[in-house]
Assembly symmetry: C2
Homo-oligomer: 402 residues x 2
Amino acid sequence: MKTRAMDPSRRGLLAGGAALAAAAVGREALAQAPAAAPAKPALPAYVAWKSPEAVIVHTATTIETRRSAFGTSIITPADRLYIRNNLPAPDVSIVANRDAWVVNVEGVRQPRALTVADLKTMGLETVAAVLQCSGNGRGYFASKPSGTKWQVGAAGCVIWSGVPVRNVVAALGGLEGGARFMTGTGGETIPAGIDPRSVMVERSVPLKAMEDALLAWEMNGEPVPHAHGGPLRLVVPGYSGVNNIKYVKRLAFTREESEAAIQKTGYRISPPGQKHQPTEPSVWEMELKSWINGPTSEAGPVKAGLVQVHGVAMGATRALRRIDVSVDGGQTWQEARFVGPDLGRFAWRQFVLPIRLAPGEYLLASRAQDAQFNWQAEATPDNSGGYLNSGWRAHAIPLTVA
Amino acid sequence: MKTRAMDPSRRGLLAGGAALAAAAVGREALAQAPAAAPAKPALPAYVAWKSPEAVIVHTATTIETRRSAFGTSIITPADRLYIRNNLPAPDVSIVANRDAWVVNVEGVRQPRALTVADLKTMGLETVAAVLQCSGNGRGYFASKPSGTKWQVGAAGCVIWSGVPVRNVVAALGGLEGGARFMTGTGGETIPAGIDPRSVMVERSVPLKAMEDALLAWEMNGEPVPHAHGGPLRLVVPGYSGVNNIKYVKRLAFTREESEAAIQKTGYRISPPGQKHQPTEPSVWEMELKSWINGPTSEAGPVKAGLVQVHGVAMGATRALRRIDVSVDGGQTWQEARFVGPDLGRFAWRQFVLPIRLAPGEYLLASRAQDAQFNWQAEATPDNSGGYLNSGWRAHAIPLTVA
């Protein structure tokens, strides 16, 4: 499939699978593909509608956005957004009647099964938020932790719309006493014959996260795509991807964290090479982070003269105050300018630094500062899962100017 | 093609045309289509990647977003955005090498032909803006002006990224003296044997519009789709669609308005039934406007009880101050709440009013107020072109609650 992007006659080929007949090739991909597009694995059928030239396909369930494909318009369109699934998605038939999807709400005074149609009457909020895989940046850790070697592209900034979880809780009489966690359970099918807890996608986050959480049926102005968790996704702004439960079928307010392996012995910050222990910190809130997206010398040296160095910066749960750019790998810094509208503290911001560069070799880096005057770390300590890498030095990229 | 949305076996069929082989069917459209999707004309091949269930196809060059398909996430994704082309688009091969597209800049001290690659070095700005056809709402005028009977859907809110026109002007030595207009010329192919001025897409706007204008190469985080003017579009925030020149090949700062028919005797506000005169007001800045998008009784009565009445409001060039909603056709009003991030004065805002409705018939309306305390008009005077309809009464929609 390496000539796929170049060959008009192949653009119409579907990757097959009866349930996936709706999948389709990316738009205008032929015309937009750079002449030197590198060979890459094909998009799997269930996301064949993604833009092939904009993504790196690691495996069928791990697909990231190319660093050069983020653009400068703040939001990440669905067809460029990364994919990371812990289990295969439920059958696509679950989005045939989106309003009929049911979520069981527990740990409230009046527990109830609610359909999406019910939820749509209970409130409406719209939040722009960074969605980022816990392992984004894993590829930059020196200890080479196992797992997908994500670079920067297991992240995107999207706009979610749905009902605030606090509205739902209020409508069901409020929380039962003693809840310390909000626990979401995904609707994936569990293979028969194994302990469900060993594979099920069920995550607990601290109860305070409820304040900003949504049960979302819409992403970027469209029903949440099935591949991204539609008909209904639990969105926990500021928390890494795994906590944002796809096809959420149960939302429970619990005294204890989930007993699922993905919670208990997965997604923990552990010393390099060590197994995760339930007592170690869970991968919850994301970190202050930024990186440069352009220009790049991917297609050859950049022309000497004025260039617009640009990238993205995120405060995770806090607003941003400042962003600096370095062209010498962090020896000297210049303050850059945020570009475009501020979509709120959970979104990322684009930034730009116009700078004149003479021919030579450069190392582009950025470091963000949040509203509480915290600076992005220079380096994130290695950890066995390769989680939450947000150090600015690891994210620096070389640039050749001629 | 009326069964298209219902028939999995047809989802993979391309509409044909060698140059359009990159076009593809909309994603997940099968699964998302409501069971009672009405019969409708098929999407033409050049926009076969649009979501068929989200649009109304009037003709091959006039396609609007369904009122119920705007959602509540503020932005309008490319695959739901309306299409209105005055001339057939240039061949899709113009986006094969986007950076090589050339725009001639005239009326500056150092006129120059600039490539998109040149423009990308000259500055970067990102602006969210409503893109709206001058004739949006034409279908609601009592005088039945000729032209497409748009309802609300020849509009969308998108995020543009590109270089500010003022940067380009500064880089070319500033304006020549005496300029009163910014004139953009589209790259459409003019049929042989006719006076180019009779059909060419060339529009002049007052020079002050330059302050906010962009030469944009990106829309919603992706290269501007060919169907929406890529590789390069002149974006004039706050000005109606026709002034936002697609495939812009010439940008001139001129003493006089263009001599093209589309400027001189087109897009003017004229008395009903009368031909446009060059002395009449040109269709430039848009109007303060809002409308309700949901809930609707399209698929049957809405259930009595709490409902979330929602819609969009735009200040055109001014920030919004307030939005009111009526459920009795304007006899009484209640202030609604803006939802989600404010993307700036050129964008629209979503709003919501939670309200308990008993069984009965309702007429939903909204009226917006801008930062200068202007209220949206109750009615827009009929005009022969059917332009700029923004009256709240014409945009009211009935709702049946059972």
